[in-house]
């Protein structure tokens, strides 16, 4: 067969699947944290995945450059919802620049790239939980599901006026 089979090495499809849908991800998708409209948000952005029609709205309440509160609303798959939920937990209390470097680090993780050294050194300790989402790297079509909330959060940080898109 000239085309590579996607079943590479000793990694079985069942392993890949349980790697993608880890218990923590399923748990966050069933009971997402911080999924609410934030009345007093200081920044807000909408993200959109034209591939599947998923939408995420991120709300940020900034105090100087610290994320005092963060929440989201929208419809998405398990990966998207869990990613948004876990991201909000991770970013609460972080500074603007910590949030930005977490974004870089997360992007690298889910794309299967090693984080750049300088980015990694800036990253803030409790990143481990977000590692749970690294399983998407074996499902290239699903990477955008995981990154949509993060792109939207970045748009909110930048206070871009246009809705962001994964395309």
């Amino acid at each position: 067969m000239s085309r590579r089979d996607t079943n590479q090495g000793s990694y079985s499809p069942a392993d890949e699947l349980s790697e993608l849908y880890r218990e923590i991800i399923l748990e966050h998708s069933r009971a997402p944290r911080n999924k609410r409209i934030m009345a007093g948000a200081t920044r807000c952005a909408e993200g959109f995945n034209p591939l599947c029609g998923d939408r995420v709205t991120m709300y940020l309440s900034m105090e100087k450059d610290v994320v005092r509160d963060i929440s989201f609303m929208g419809t998405g798959c398990a990966i998207c919802t869990a990613s948004a939920s876990m991201m909000t937990e991770h970013l609460k209390g972080k500074t603007d620049s910590e949030a930005r470097s977490a974004f870089q680090q997360f992007q690298s993780k889910v794309r299967g790239e090693e984080a750049k050294r300088e980015t990694a050194s800036e990253a803030v300790g409790d990143f481990d939980r977000l590692e749970a989402l690294a399983g998407v790297k074996r499902f290239p079509m699903r990477v955008k599901c995981a990154t949509l909330p993060w792109h939207t959060m970045m748009a909110a940080l930048d206070q871009r006026d246009q809705p962001v898109s994964t395309e």
Binding site: M1, R3, D5, N7, P13, Y21, C52, D54, I79, F139
Partner: protein, 424 residues
């Protein structure tokens, strides 16, 4: 799962199908069906997105590149003659395939999207006036919505939407009410890509013509699943996608009535669409050349001709009966799955099952099925207004083709049980 369902049939077709339709022989024509995905035999249930190609089409495309690659309509040398004959031969095959009156009515395009854009930009944009109305059905694919919005911006015409019922059928009495004398264009699909609804096209065309409107048909899902006779249907334009009828990508057809094509301005300007060019004035060629500027996808068009022949030999009616059998087999089996909801219950339906499963997102359904080697489409299927009408963000869609088997539907059902296992 241990349910036993009676072998359903439509007018006793099933026994006829099993006698006439040699599914194993047909499957042997499609090399890709032997592939494994993640260690499992491929179950390809995404034919509505793109159909797989029979060996004959693959070989025809290959033979062109190996044996007689040359530009068409140009040189006097032998290879160019062979290439031109094969290309124009495909035009004649397609003419017969949809029973057009003349080969001049068969315009080769990049696909159904380009075909619809030509109808919109070249025909509609030159006849519409402010206040004129274009009617679209609520089921249309984005490629039969966006070109009309672009035309409206240009001309000041407006779009009105023909509503549908909950089964996914066009409401003909509502359509009748919308057909005022301001309606100049009715743009509708033949078969719904999202729900499978086969629309009563001849009736829709007749009603439009009585109201003085021209009918543009998005036929992307038509010819692979049912016999298309454009003269019998009476439509003014009919857009065909090559790769959805087992041909190559990048090749399609716009059928247009000759008198309309002759009045229309050209599409792209360039070589092959002219009679003569001076810097002062260019005289355009007659249709179809007027709409075929530039070197076309020659190999693709030749492959499309071979695909049409292949479909004719297999028998469109037999394929339709086979797909109907699959639909009747799949529908009750899928409905026994707890929490599965099928969208689209039209009386006349092609081999498409669009569904949701509990509150599991279709993308998650698609990924789990993928690990079982099963390819389905998930998302809005380029029909966001329809999804809004149905009240869902997305669905999963299994679509069947001439090579699909009942065993593959069994695999789908098993796969969906796996989905439930993962998501509970």
């Amino acid at each position: 799962m241990s349910i036993t369902l009676p072998a359903t049939s439509v007018d006793g077709l099933i026994s006829g199908v099993s006698r006439d339709y040699d599914i194993e022989r047909i499957r042997a024509d499609f090399p890709i069906l032997k592939r494994t995905i993640r260690g499992k035999t491929l179950v390809y249930l995404d034919t509505a997105a793109t159909a797989q190609r029979p060996l004959r089409v693959i070989e025809a495309v290959d033979a062109f590149s190996r044996g007689y690659n040359a530009n068409i309509h140009r040189a006097v040398h032998h290879l160019s003659v062979e290439a031109t004959e094969a290309f124009e031969g495909a035009r004649n095959i397609l003419r017969g395939f949809i029973n057009a009156d003349s080969i001049r009515e068969i315009i080769f395009t990049r696909g159904a999207t380009e075909s619809l854009n030509i109808a919109a930009q070249c025909y509609a944009a030159s006849v519409l006036e402010p206040g004129d109305v274009i009617l679209l059905s609520n089921l249309e694919h984005h490629s039969n919505i966006v070109p009309w919005q672009m035309v409206c911006e240009k001309t000041g015409a407006t779009i009105k939407v023909i509503p549908i019922d909950d089964r996914g059928e066009i409401l003909l009495d509502e359509y009748e009410k919308l057909l005022t004398d301001r309606v100049k264009i009715v743009a509708v699909q033949h078969v719904s890509n999202s729900l499978g609804t086969i629309h009563p096209l001849k009736k829709i065309v007749g009603m439009a013509h009585r109201a003085g409107a021209v009918v543009v048909v998005d036929g992307a899902q038509g010819p692979p699943h049912l016999k298309v006779d454009v003269q019998d249907l009476g439509c003014d334009f009919y857009a065909i996608s090559g790769h959805k009828m087992y041909g190559p990508t990048g090749a399609g057809v716009l059928y247009g009535k000759r008198e309309l094509l002759e009045k229309m301005p050209p599409w792209l300007g360039g070589g092959d669409m002219i009679k003569s060019v001076t810097f002062e004035k260019t005289i355009y060629a007659d249709p179809p050349a007027k709409f075929e500027a530039g070197t076309p996808n020659i190999a693709g068009v030749i492959g499309l001709g071979v695909a049409a022949k292949y479909l004719e030999e297999a028998g469109i009616e037999r394929i339709a009966a086979h797909e109907r059998d699959l639909l009747d087999y799949a529908t009750p089996r899928l409905e026994t799955i707890d929490g599965l909801r099928i969208f689209g219950k039209a009386a006349h339906k092609s081999g498409v099952v669009s569904f949701t499963l509990k509150d599991i997102h279709p993308h998650d359904i698609g990924t789990v099925l993928d690990t079982e080697g099963i390819a389905v489409r998930t998302g809005h299927h380029c029909t966001q207004p329809l999804m809004e009408r149905l009240g869902v963000a997305a669905t999963a869609r299994a679509s069947f083709g001439m090579y699909t088997t009942r065993q593959e539907i069994d695999r789908l059902v098993e796969g969906l049980h796996k989905v439930i296992e993962v998501f509970g």
